[in-house]
Amino acid sequence: MSAILSSFAVSTIKDTIVALSTPPGRSGIGVVRLSGTRALEISQLLVRDEVFALEPNHATLKKLYDPATGKVLDHALLTYFKSPHSFTGEDVVEFSCHGSPVLLRYLIDIILSFDSRLAGPGEFTLRALRNGRLNLSQAEAIRDLINAQTKAAAQQATRQLGGELSALLQPIKDGLLNTIVPLESSLEFVEDDLPEVSIKEISATLFSLINRIEEIASTFQTGRLLREGLKATLVGRPNVGKSSVFNKLIASDRAIITDIPGTTRDSLSEMLTIEGVAILLTDTAGLRVSADVIENLGVERTKRAIADADLIILVIDGSQPLMPEDIDIFKDISSGPHLIAVNKNDLEGFRLDALALKENKYNEARAIVSISAKSGAGFDDLRSAIMKPFNVWDASDNGLFITNARHFDLLQRTQLALRSSADLLEARASEELVLVGLYDALRFLGEITGETTTDDILSQIFATFCIGK
């Protein structure tokens, strides 16, 4: 519960809340949403109908009046959702107005004057959760869906909302139940004529479950990138064309460049998308790795830039021989995920000298890309090289990823619990001890997909075995 409380704004319970549900700014339509016991009453005050009957789940065109002047404010489409059959579970009225920010703000002011209050962030969802209209996993999915910055992230959230994650985990729960049932039966029905429990079989099942969970949990690496975006940082000595590469990557993506909230236009980071994944590209211009500047800017800063990034792109000037600085920088970055872009392949004398950097860890030729920021040659290769390590679309399970840190954490705990049970089984510990970890695992999975009760387990036992001394 505390997780729910902290992830949503809290408010008093019984009042009616209002908020603009479409983004601020001019638009074709602006939707104002009103939820709570007074939603219908307040709507009536705005519409001024003597006989006011909104049919639930139907859109009705109405004139909205300004109570101060008595003049018509707007023609709006009103949709009424009757409690409990609404998103929040309360009475909800949505006003689809013309999308003028001035008009919308004025309308909300009027509604606020009718004994309602502005909804806090996430408060509609909180009410839905509280009224049992959503479960926690679905609420999380809605939050992710709204926050999704890219198509890929939105897709993941939608799939989670649709229960695909639960479906993915269901076979694991079933497998777990299949290990619990024989162990539990052998404890509870010792006088019954039950088949011998095969420790070997149970152990094998446990290990296959552990592997499967590991597999699913490992998608978090990519899943997190889908949700939060990928941080890629350009490094290289001066004048190798980093900024040109930066501009070229951005420019070729111009249509979907967005500002990063909180950063100014003159910052060195820009957002672009590749294959639907948000990439926060940072140019480390000004970061010079030369003997005299190191004193000023510090090795620390380089290291931090490297540590923060999910991917480092080392830019090298292919028209010149490899410099000692190139090698120094490479040494700094070679322990993390990185790729090498050899620039200026349009110039004469261009050589893929960078191949000399190929060391044991970095021996895949495709991680070295030959490009020209000037001509644009090789940029398709560069983009796919950026995405390559993240394997976004060719993962198993049809590309469903763990995108939520809470889910990832629960999967890790599930796996640990199963491992402890497997160890106990190996040591031939008594069943009640082996079962501790199995029940823990079931509970952790239940926190993602919904609870499994003792009754479910007993039912399974009675369906599997003939019990009854």
Partner: protein
């Protein structure tokens, strides 16, 4: 209102729930009447003549630890004691004993008759006298009216009981006894939601007609583990039971005649227990099993009657006889009493508080099968709690409520009142979240202090409890401080026996937690003077504490995290109506109990998770703004 007699507490029914209820109430010092149809059948075991079993044995020891009587009576009348799951961990071991059915009954009646303030009355209760949502007494069929400040209804299978054998049915509470029909109607009139359940029992055989040599003997334990903490020694001579099997031919004959079974002809509407199925059910539902296990259990020292455990049936008697004779070893066997199925009314236990008092009628308590449970032990523990609380209520004292974290009794009551039942409810160890902590051998440590506080555990029992507790503490410190060293004579043989490297030295408690280190081995390593004064059971208790302590601590930590809102206070005069999103039903349930903390609200039966989270959000907000 005029009455023929007046009591503080009246208990209706003298089965396993009723006897515990009456004994507890009387021993707490209130005038108690135990009203039963037939005084000669007090404490009758209607079905299997056995007490205990996995989790059920735990219940009996908990009853004993609180000051109940079931444990003492089975210890005096048990003719075959066996500790189940002996090869497994101590938390899932449980004592079971087969009783001499007649002796058990006699001993129960004798025990009740010597309790001061306890009055036996024979009669059939036909009505509850209720006014303004308060109980005032009961009316008997012979027109006597008995006054009471509190009433415990413990009527077992008697409410609207209907026996099925083959195609015939007749009204009965149990074979040979009338059903309780007016009382069932009275409960319905009072507005209690009533459902229908079913149970069954196997035929009893004449032991002289059994070919015993065909069966596999199942002897009693050499070291019987008793139920009562007060028992020193089992005095009854121990008998052997026997195991046999049905055959494919028996199954075929049952299948061929399945239309004769009221279970399959659609006559029986009530739901039976899945863990105690009839032989018809076993054969039909598990068609691929080519044999089913049977237990032949002699019913006592002074009878030839043998209980054919595992062969519960409601097929016609002549067919039962035919089927029994198809079983190897029973070719000549005669049935003394045929098996039968019985349907009976139960009252939805969600109508109860954790004290087993009905929510709607003050000082009316329900205990045992009326609440949808099955089993003597399940009945007994409810009777005990209901009897205790009836007396405490009469005395105006604070009532007793057990939590699921500390007892199987708490688990059982909590399950009943929160979830209700859709089949006869039986206890299982897997129902307890804290099963590692709820051992049969530590029931005294868990519950005797409650028993002492309310006054049910008397001074001499309390003295014994303290002695045992102190002894265990001493033993534990000895086990922690005694080391087995490489230089010791025993070191080599122990290390060899366990096939493990034990290092330079190891404490006995560490040694005990090594795989295969059995308690008897540890005992041999104790200093000689300690060894003689230490009994095995005490040693096993101390070792079990140590074995599980790590797990239990981890589970407690999880539990505390999950329930860290439980201490959240609900302000005095808090208005639940002010919370939007709570249905009328939820508000009503909350207002009835008026919980003082969120933890108390959480334990209110029938409160939905959505309602609880709404309440929690509201309380958290209040706390933040306060």
């Amino acid at each position: 209102m005029s009455f023929d007699e007046a009591f503080d507490v009246i208990v209706i029914g003298a089965g396993h729930a009723g006897c515990e209820a009456a004994a507890a109430a009387a021993r707490l010092g209130v005038q108690t009447a135990l009203v039963t149809l037939n005084l000669d059948l007090i404490g009758q075991m209607s079905c299997n003549p056995a007490i205990g079993g996995i989790a059920k044995g735990h219940l009996v020891r908990e009853i004993d630890a609180l000051g109940g009587i079931m444990g003492r009576i089975i210890d005096r009348t048990g003719i075959q004691f066996r500790l189940l799951n002996r090869s497994r961990g101590p938390a899932v071991q449980s004592p079971r004993a087969q009783a001499d059915r007649a002796l058990y009954r006699t001993e129960m009646r004798r025990t009740l008759e010597v309790i001061p303030n306890l009055h036996l009355r024979q009669g059939l209760v036909v009505d509850l006298i209720v006014k303004d949502s308060r109980i005032y007494g009961v009316e008997l069929q012979d027109t006597r009216r008995l006054r009471a400040k509190a009433v415990v209804v413990a009527t077992g299978t008697f409410l609207n009981g209907l026996i099925h054998i083959g195609r015939r049915t007749h009204s009965a509470g149990r074979a040979g006894e009338p059903a309780s029909i007016e009382l069932a109607e009275s409960l319905k009139r009072l507005g209690f939601p009533v459902g229908r359940l079913k149970t069954g029992t196997p035929p009893r055989l004449d032991g002289r007609t059994i070919d015993w040599n065909v069966f596999e003997p199942q002897p009693a334990d050499e070291r019987p583990v008793h139920f009562s903490f007060a028992t020193d020694k089992i005095e009854q001579p121990q008998i052997t039971c026997f195991i046999g099997y049905t055959t494919g031919a028996v199954h075929n004959a049952i299948r061929a005649n399945i239309h004769e079974s009221p279970l399959y002809s659609g006559k029986i509407k009530g739901i039976g227990p899945r863990y105690c199925p009839s032989i018809e059910d076993k054969v039909i539902k598990f068609a691929d099993k080519n044999r089913h296990q049977l237990f032949l259990e002699p019913e006592g020292h002074n009878t030839n009657e043998v209980y054919l455990n595992g062969f519960s049936t409601s097929l016609p008697p002549e067919l039962q006889q035919e089927l029994v004779r198809m079983i190897p070893g029973l070719e000549r066997a005669n049935i003394i009493r045929p098996g039968y199925a019985i349907e009976y009314d139960y009252v939805d236990p969600r109508e109860l508080t954790p004290y087993l008092e009905t929510v709607h009628i003050k000082d009316l308590f329900h205990a045992g099968q009326i609440n949808g449970t099955t089993g003597y032990e399940e009945a007994g523990c409810q009777g005990l709690i209901a009897g205790i609380n009836a007396a405490l209520s009469v005395q105006g004292r604070e009532r007793l409520r057990l939590n699921r974290e500390e007892s199987y009794i708490g688990v059982l009551i909590d399950d009943l009142i929160r979830q209700g039942v859709d089949e006869p409810y039986r206890i299982f160890t897997s129902r307890a979240e804290f099963r590692l902590a709820l051992r049969h051998d530590n029931a005294d440590a868990r519950l005797s202090p409650y028993g002492q506080k309310i006054g049910l555990v008397n001074d001499s029992d309390w003295e014994r409890f303290n002695q045992r507790r102190d002894k265990l503490v001493r033993l534990r410190s000895i086990l922690e401080s005694t080391r087995l060293r490489k230089s010791d004579a025993a070191y080599l043989s122990v290390s060899h026996a366990l096939a493990q490297d034990l290092g330079d030295s190891i404490t006995l408690i560490q040694l005990a937690n090594r795989p295969n280190a059995r308690p008897d081995l540890i005992k041999q390593l104790l200093p000689a003077e300690i060894q003689t004064e230490t009994n095995m059971a005490d040693l096993e208790s101390v070792l079990a504490d140590s074995l599980y302590s790590g797990y239990i601590n981890a589970q407690r930590a999880t539990f505390d995290r999950l329930h860290n809102h439980d201490s959240l206070r609900i302000p005095f005069n808090f208005s639940f109506r002010e919370i939007s999103g709570l249905s009328h039903e939820m508000i009503e349930r909350l207002e009835r109990v008026c919980p003082k903390t969120f933890g108390q609200a959480r334990s209110i039966p029938g409160l939905t998770p959505a309602a609880l989270s709404t309440l929690l959000v509201h309380l958290t907000l209040q706390q933040r703004t306060a």
